[in-house]
Amino acid sequence: MRLRLVPQETNIDFFKHARLTFGASVLAMVLSIAVWLGMGLNFGIDFLGGTTIRTESSTPVDVAAYRAALDALDLGDVSITQVFDPTFGPEQNVAMIRIQAQAGQESVTPEMVLAVQDALQTVYPAMSFPSVESVGPKVSGELIQTAIIAVIASLGAILVYIWLRFEWQFSVGAVAALIHDIILTVGLFALLQIRFDLATIAALLTIVGYSINDTVVIFDRLRENLVKYKSRGLQDVMNLSANETLSRTLMTSGTTLLALLALLVLGGDVIRGFVFAIFWGVIVGTYSSIFVAKNIVLMIGVKRDWSKPDAKAGTQFSNIDA
């Protein structure tokens, strides 16, 4: 007996509720952008500049006490968050302290870091600092720029690649699906106020890679079926292609999610945000390749018959000399 995620033969009409699914996607995108603009992203020091200090002590984290210890230093905006992780032992109490970039200083002064560490150690002598990271505002500005370029460059590269391998309609559909995935992911990060840093950008690009992978497999089958079933309607062939590849789509998403789930739970807190983004991206990516990319292609329409020259091109003047 084999494990089957979907029955052997499926004949699901993915366009039956096209208005609903497509509308839901558009609504989700609008909401994501609204949350993004309204709540803002919780940028990490990679993009904002500043310093993060990871503290570890055997006594439970007391955010108020930490804050009181640091108040005297007058560091401006300081955020202190406790870090929870199933891999921590009972004696491992971890917190992240983030300090804003200090005005008028490009580089981070070691004195400040030392002052912070001393202030905390006077309260908790046994506290250790497993990591200290500082990024100056100059670099963080450039990092934002590079991140935006990376996302745009990858979308552009995919647009061109799909265009060359398929048709321009396919590449528009694929890139629309990718933008959908990116916006929904950024929206979720804004909603949950998860730290958004360089690793998140890498995760976004991975999502782009995964989602396009999924979309391309369906497109590939669609191209094959368009040749095979010349007389069937486009929507019909799309449904057929999606049904034929559904088992594969879900199998691959399933194995990837399984692997990511292991990493999400057991991989430690340092990369949790990164893994979470990819995990979420695989889910939206799978959804978008089934419900977004094809719909766009259907809306634009695809030139079907390549054996004859373009019907319009051949006929628009043919009735003149009748």
Binding site: L198, I201, T206, L258, A262
Partner: protein, 555 residues
């Protein structure tokens, strides 16, 4: 029919075996690392001890000792991004130019009148002359100080830009010279940082020039970024000493106020020198690789500031024919013989140089002290425990991910799923093999990349298996179904993986540090997973099919 040519099989098997052979040392990371360190030390010093041999014996010499480099986030260490204030050098150059300019303007005192240096913006030299009518003559005199810029691209452009503004003479470095200077400053800074860090004897430091004026410094195993900054901050000391004698005896007795120093590149050679240097590197302004105009031999030119020039000129005039030693950090770089008095403040070192040797020496000479201030834009310290925790968490996650994917595949595709699982194990082996051979750095996101690849690597197999299932439905024989399944799934596999590969390339190009580590494992993972899925599983299936000859197959 289902057949794979024999040579094809051999290549597949050989590649897999090679990958696994190179990946295997990573399973014994610590032992192999200690073995490698011992071997490197024995090679470098040429001597060996029992302790070293014991370390060496931890891993057989015959087996490959390739290891994946662990990134800072896994090993712990410090990361610094420094910006070199290249413009500092312009100012120093202008200050050094002033005495020369003063001298040439004095020669034309009749037309320009008295001269006085004015306060000027950084990197400019402003001189006011008392006779505005003589400004043209002053400009012309100053232009004579300019020499053609020496660089790979811009030949011939003058080093200085001189203009007159009423009674004000304004001298700046030309654009071409600024670029050449920046380039030299950067080379010099990188070289100094490298020397400083290497001296501390840490493992595999990364010191890279980034962009126009930045240096990335990553040192694993160091306590904190502050320690690293202290290390870089100490300056190299360059001195010129009179040579008393040359010896091969490391324990030679020396008189008071004399020192015994080893030669840098001649093994076992030592020099007895006067302890008081004639000139120190503080007085050195510049040094360039060049060619001796008479012999055409590679040489190194150097230039002192005025006080250094005077001291050096006096000494060389009095000691023609005697050797003097150029000493860097208590080691004699070279001990050339003074051929003539060197009065102009600049001179040339000839010797048994190759072109590379002269370039290196020029860099070393310039590398005495940091030429410009460094501002640190980014600092990261990661403690070793955090790295160890991350490795442990990553390992557990990878094993769990692995096991669950294997179970899932076998449940879904039975025997074929088992074949895919074997290919998956080989795939991870190949990833580590390739990472080790190319000396890539594994970072925490890199581990995530491998775990993600585990999930995605089955994709190509899934594509093929699903296709075989479909082909079986149309009632062809099993052999034909397998063949068709592979053939028809290929285009989807290629398209799907190429697009992901494009993303990996973009991440690699634009990313840095951990993100780059992720892109490397992702990219390699894509290549190896396509290889294992298309070739290895196919080989397994075809071999099985040949043996078992089943009438029907279930996928």
């Amino acid at each position: 029919m289902l057949q794979i040519p024999v040579w094809n099989k051999m290549v597949i098997i050989l590649l897999v075996l090679a990958g696994i052979a190179f990946a295997m040392p990573n399973l014994f990371y610590e032992r192999v690392e200690r073995h490698n360190d011992a071997v490197a030390l024995i090679e470098r010093t040429g001597a060996t001890t029992d302790a070293l041999e014991a370390e060496r014996a931890l891993w057989p010499d015959l087996l490959p000792g390739t290891l994946v480099n662990l990134g800072l986030d896994l090993r712990g260490g410090a990361h610094l991004l420094a910006e070199v204030q290249v413009a500092d050098v312009y100012e120093a150059r202008m200050d050094a130019l002033w005495p020369e300019l003063r001298d040439v303007l004095r020669e034309v005192r009749d037309t320009v009148g008295t001269i006085r240096r004015q306060d000027a913006p950084a990197g400019e030299l402003h001189v006011r002359i008392s006779e505005p009518a003589g400004i043209a003559a002053a400009v012309e005199a100053a232009r004579r100080l300019a020499t053609p810029v020496v660089s790979l691209t811009g030949v011939g452009a003058p080093t200085l830009e001189v203009r007159g503004d009423n009674d004000l003479l304004i001298v700046t470095l030309s654009e071409a010279e600024r670029q050449a200077t920046d380039d030299r400053t950067m080379q010099q800074s990188v070289e100094i940082v490298r020397r400083r860090v290497d001296e501390a004897g840490t493992r595999e430091p990364t010191i890279q020039r980034q962009g126009a004026d930045r240096i990335l410094i990553q040192v694993p195993g160091i306590g904190s970024a502050q320690e690293l900054k202290d290390l870089i901050g100490t300056t190299a000391r360059l001195t010129f000493h009179p040579v008393v004698s040359r010896t091969t005896d490391a324990q030679a007795e020396v008189d008071a106020r004399q020192i015994l120093l080893p030669s840098m590149d001649e093994e076992g050679a030592f020099y007895v020198l006067e302890q008081t240097p004639v000139v120190t590197g503080d007085d050195l302004v510049d040094s360039q690789p060049a060619f001796d105009q008479q012999t055409g031999q590679p040489a190194v030119t150097f230039r002192f500031n005025p006080s250094g020039a005077r001291a050096f000129g006096d000494y060389t005039a009095a000691n023609v024919g005697a050797p003097f030693a150029i000493v860097l950090d208590e080691e004699v770089i070279s001990a050339p013989v003074i051929r003539q008095a060197i009065t102009g403040g600049s001179g040339q070192i000839t010797g048994n140089f190759t072109v590379e040797g002269s370039t290196e020496l020029a860099v070393l000479l310039r590398a005495g002290a940091l030429p410009a201030e460094m501002v640190f834009l980014e600092e990261r310290t990661i403690g070793p425990e955090l790295g160890a925790d991350s490795i442990a968490a990553g390992e557990i996650a990878a094993v769990v991910a692995f096991a669950s994917v294997l179970v899932f595949m076998v449940l879904s595709y039975g025997l074929f799923g088992f074949f895919a699982s074997v290919a998956l194990i080989l795939n991870v082996g190949l990833i580590f093999g390739v990472l080790s051979v190319i000396g890539a750095t594994l970072t925490l996101p890199g581990i995530a990349g491998i775990v993600l690849t585990i999930g995605m690597a089955v994709d190509a197999n899934v594509l093929v298996f699903e296709r075989i299932r479909e082909e079986l439905k149309t009632a062809k024989g099993p052999a034909r179904a397998i063949e068709q399944g592979y053939a028809r799934a290929l285009s989807a596999i290629i398209d799907a993986n190429l697009t992901t590969f494009i993303i990996a390339v973009i991440l690699f190009t634009l990313g840095s540090g951990p993100v780059r580590g992720f892109s490397i494992t992702l990219g390699i993972g894509i290549i190896t997973s396509v290889f294992t899925a298309i070739y290895v599983t196919r080989l397994l299936i075809v071999t099985w099919f040949d043996r078992a000859r089943p009438k029907t197959i279930e996928v």
